[in-house]
């Protein structure tokens, strides 16, 4: 368990952290209008009469947004409230055409749930911690103001106005930047598995309000500050680190923490005050009279549950328990839904090609994927999503290793050629003459030559320096341009060295 403490001048301080994550729901249309939601469209091209709050316009709930929020709630084993309601949060701002945001204060769609985080992927069970989720509610996003387009005026882009967000509110259960980072990473992972949010933090699809307070061990909770709209895992961790030490400095200097809203500056890694509680808005929440209470029936809930995919924790457990992967590989391969999907296509294809069941090929595939392909793609500056090698062509390569046609080291060369040319593994092996040699005569000849050329080392080996065996294997393989069957090379060497 993490025991993050801030060393102040007067002693140790604990940090208490809660996150409110805004996640844009992945849908074609906005929460209460039919407008499109695509990122990066020309300003004010995805704005309906409702989004612009023209006189007499009314909101109509997009059920798909509700479905995605319910599925998300189910994915964190949360209470789903079959009766919920929308409230208006009233305030004036130029990016808020209605003069109120439609949100859910009093009766949120999703109640209490939990997310388990793992702080050490190599030791998942020993480093797990459960973070409570207080609620998930659904609300409208605001538009965007641009202050740098004109010397005296601000421009308003309403494309985001009315886009559906889930606000996922954690309990103040995190006690270190690492835990907050792990929570946000895990939440993002779950959202992407469920398909309810694309998790693109750099496009603003997911952003966090970070609540931080500090206290001495055993003392009651301190006054918290809220740092708004932090948009990466790294920044969240940096914001907490900075904010917690700032608070310790203030308190140790005899000051008081003011409950306030702060902003994070990614350039300096610091937070600064935005507005204090005294300037806080009175939002005058009340039930939106334009919308009826949202009542969910059992059939709807059943469909939501039935449509949930295998979730990260279950998948990771299956990878270790059924497929026999190491905890680390299981964690790496389940970290992102697209990676897991790639891996699963690979093992399905591998099993088919090699005539084995998936569990029998999974380990080989996992090792190859995490060490070979990831490494190769990394060098090319590519991600798995734009890998030139597809899971099926990778399965072809792995089958060639599996049936002994090529060795593991030759497979590396073949992969490089595949990435370079886009050709299939078998074709490359054939063209380049990379087939493994199982011709004992050729291997014996090569071994003889190596031993003859290294008589001194043979002497030392026979004198007890057995570590030299690897040297002989390497020399033989080198002499055979890597094509010697490793087992046979071993056998022959052992026999000749006596």
């Amino acid at each position: 368990m993490s025991s993050y403490r801030i060393q102040g001048a007067t002693g140790e301080w604990e940090v208490v952290i809660g996150l409110e994550v805004h996640a844009q729901i992945t849908t074609q249309a906005k929460l209460f209008s039919g407008s499109a939601t695509a990122f990066g469209a020309e300003p004010n091209t995805q704005v309906s009469l409702v989004d612009a709050a023209m006189p007499g316009m009314l909101p109509v709930l997009n059920r798909e947004c509700i479905r995605q929020a319910v599925r998300t709630g189910m994915a964190i084993e949360a209470q789903i409230n079959t009766w919920s309601r929308f409230d208006r949060k009233n305030y004036f701002y130029a990016d808020l055409p209605q003069g109120y945001q439609i949100s859910q204060l009093y009766h949120p769609l999703v109640g209490e749930g939990a997310i388990e985080i793992v702080l050490d992927d190599k030791n998942p069970e020993g480093s797990a911690k459960v973070i409570g989720v207080e609620r998930i509610h659904v609300e409208q996003d605001a538009g965007k103001l641009m202050h740098d387009q004109h010397p005296t005026m601000s421009y308003v882009d309403l494309n985001r106005s009315g886009v559906a967000l889930m606000e996922i509110v954690s309990r103040p259960d995190m006690t270190s930047p690492a835990e907050a980072g792990a929570y946000l990473t895990k939440l993002r992972q779950i959202l992407r598995y469920v398909g309810s949010c694309d998790g693109n933090m750099d496009q603003g699809s997911m952003r966090a309000d970070v609540n931080v307070s500090v206290r001495r061990a055993g003392e009651p909770l301190g006054t918290r500050t809220e740092t708004k709209n932090v948009n990466s895992v790294r920044f969240v961790m940096a914001a907490i680190e900075h904010e917690a030490s700032r608070q310790v400095d203030v308190l140790e200097a005899g000051g008081k923490i003011v409950q306030e809203t702060r902003l994070f500056d990614p350039g300096t890694g610091t937070t600064r005050s935005m507005r204090s509680k005294e300037d806080a808005h009175d939002y005058r929440y009340f039930p939106d009279p334009d919308l009826l209470p949202l009542v969910l029936d059992q059939a709807f809930l059943d469909e939501c549950r039935a449509s949930l995919p295998e979730l990260p924790d279950a998948k990771r457990a299956r990878y270790t328990d059924v497929l026999g992967l190491s905890p680390y590989n299981a964690a790496v391969l389940t970290a992102d839904v697209d990676t897991a999907a790639w891996f699963e296509t690979l093992i399905t294809a591998s099993a088919a090609k090699q005539g084995k069941d998936e569990a029998a090929v999974a380990k080989q595939a996992a090792n190859w994927l995490t060490s070979e392909l990831f490494g190769a793609l990394n060098k090319l500056g590519k991600g798995l999503e734009d890998s030139p090698v597809s899971p099926t062509s990778a399965a072809e390569l792995l089958a060639l290793v599996g049936d002994g046609t090529i060795s593991g080291s030759i497979a590396k060369q073949v992969l490089e050629k595949m990435l370079e040319t886009g050709d299939g593994a078998a074709a490359i092996v054939e063209r380049e003459g990379l087939k493994q040699t199982t011709d004992t005569g050729a291997i014996e000849a090569a071994v003889d030559a190596v031993l003859a050329a290294n008589a001194d080392k043979v002497e030392q080996y026979r004198g007890g320096k057995e570590a030299l065996f690897g040297f002989f294997v390497g020399q033989t393989m080198k002499a055979m341009a890597g094509k010697g069957n490793p087992q046979l090379v071993n056998q022959v060497l052992k026999a000749k060295l006596g």
């Binding site: 909101p59 109509v60 009340f286 334009d290």
Partner: protein, 502 residues
Amino acid sequence: MRNHRFELMTDLTELGVAALRDGVAGGAFTATEVAHAFNAAVEAAQGALNAFIVTTPDAALAAAGKVDEARAAGQPLGKMAGVPIGMKDLFATKGVQTTAASKILEGFVPPYESTVSQKLWDAGAGMLGKLNLDQFAMGSSNETSGFGNVISPWRKGGDTTPLAPGGSSGGSSAAVAARIAPAATGTDTGGSIRQPAAFTGISGIKPTYGRCSRWGVVAFASSLDQAGPMARDVRDCAIMLEAMAGFDPKDSTSLDLPVPAWEAGLNADLRGKKVGIPREYRVDGLDADVAKSWDDGIAWLKDAGAEIVDISLPHTKYALPTYYIIAPAEASSNLARYDGVRYGLRDLPEGANLQDMYAATRAAGFGDEVKRRILIGTYVLSAGFYDAYYTQAQKVRALISQDFMTAFETVDVILTPTAPSAAFALGQKSTDPVEMYLNDVFSVPASLAGLPAMSVPAGLSRDGLPLGLHVIGRPLDEQGVLNAGLALEQRAQFSAKPGKWW
């Protein structure tokens, strides 16, 4: 044009919805002749009555022309074919200025048409113009309009004091009473169809909340606002309501139910029906004329075969304060969108920032009554007061609804006066908001409960001014309300109309 045609045109303005529809369908006159006649009447009265904010004679003629062509081509005609109407300027009309009688929306021309107005055009009605009203439908006398008072066509005998046409649908009531429109749309939040109908000797019905779409109607108080027709008689109301009502997927509070054939279902025989008379409405100091008219109504319904039952609606006295919490609360939020950013008035003083612009725009654009209600609404929703006012008001609202539901276990409809007095003089109550709010005392409870309710003319006060009777029905029982209204209408034999002084 021949002379007798002029005579015909004058006479046409005496006709109501059913007579115009039937006359056009039967070929007695053309829709275009009807439109010309009403356009001329509108123009002649506009300077004196100020019933319209804008007139649209060309729109009336265009719609009429289409009806005449359709008839000539033998095509089926709509429920309102050939009937030109006035459109309360709370309904968004595509290409025609829509202001809610507020300066903050002066010059605003919507690129969209409200569902209700579109349904009326689809039914063959034409638009004479956009009718004046209390600003954002907040008022009971039409004095809060940003575009000048509407003057009632009615005058006390031997007196030229300008009278209130009621509100907020005062342009609608004045136009129908003055025979410059055969019918008009109204909206009713706390009595804004029924009270002006009563003040001007016409009929008007507020249907069950959810019958008419609110889409494209400038919102005052969303949980209460409901559109309805204002016309010469009960039949005309039934016809027009059929054209206005119906499910609209664009309004989440719209009722997904078929529209009954109310006109065909009209039946003034009330044998077997029970009419409730709520004792709480017989308030101390009830105006003697109003009390007498109520007694007349009771006798007429008895005569129509109904059994009269004394009932209690115990929470009645809390209705007005409850209404004046809920309606302003919703309004304070609904009117936040008029901020000078996207449309309508923008007042940008030299060097102003965003907050300054909001303040200047809203100070300049909203009238005093609108500001008063925004302040009340903001107050009752604010931290520390929300539970004491808004939450409490919602609970009382539920109790008021429950009162009605209990009563409707025994009775079919409820009869009350529409308003506590006949029309008052302009200026008489405008300095005392509470005095003005008391005008809604009989109409507000049905609004809070979302019930169908209508006002029909019952007779004249001693001063020669119209009085209305108010029928409240069960949810969705517009038919019961209309039938009781018809029974009253047949016995009241109300034929008075304002002398033409304009």
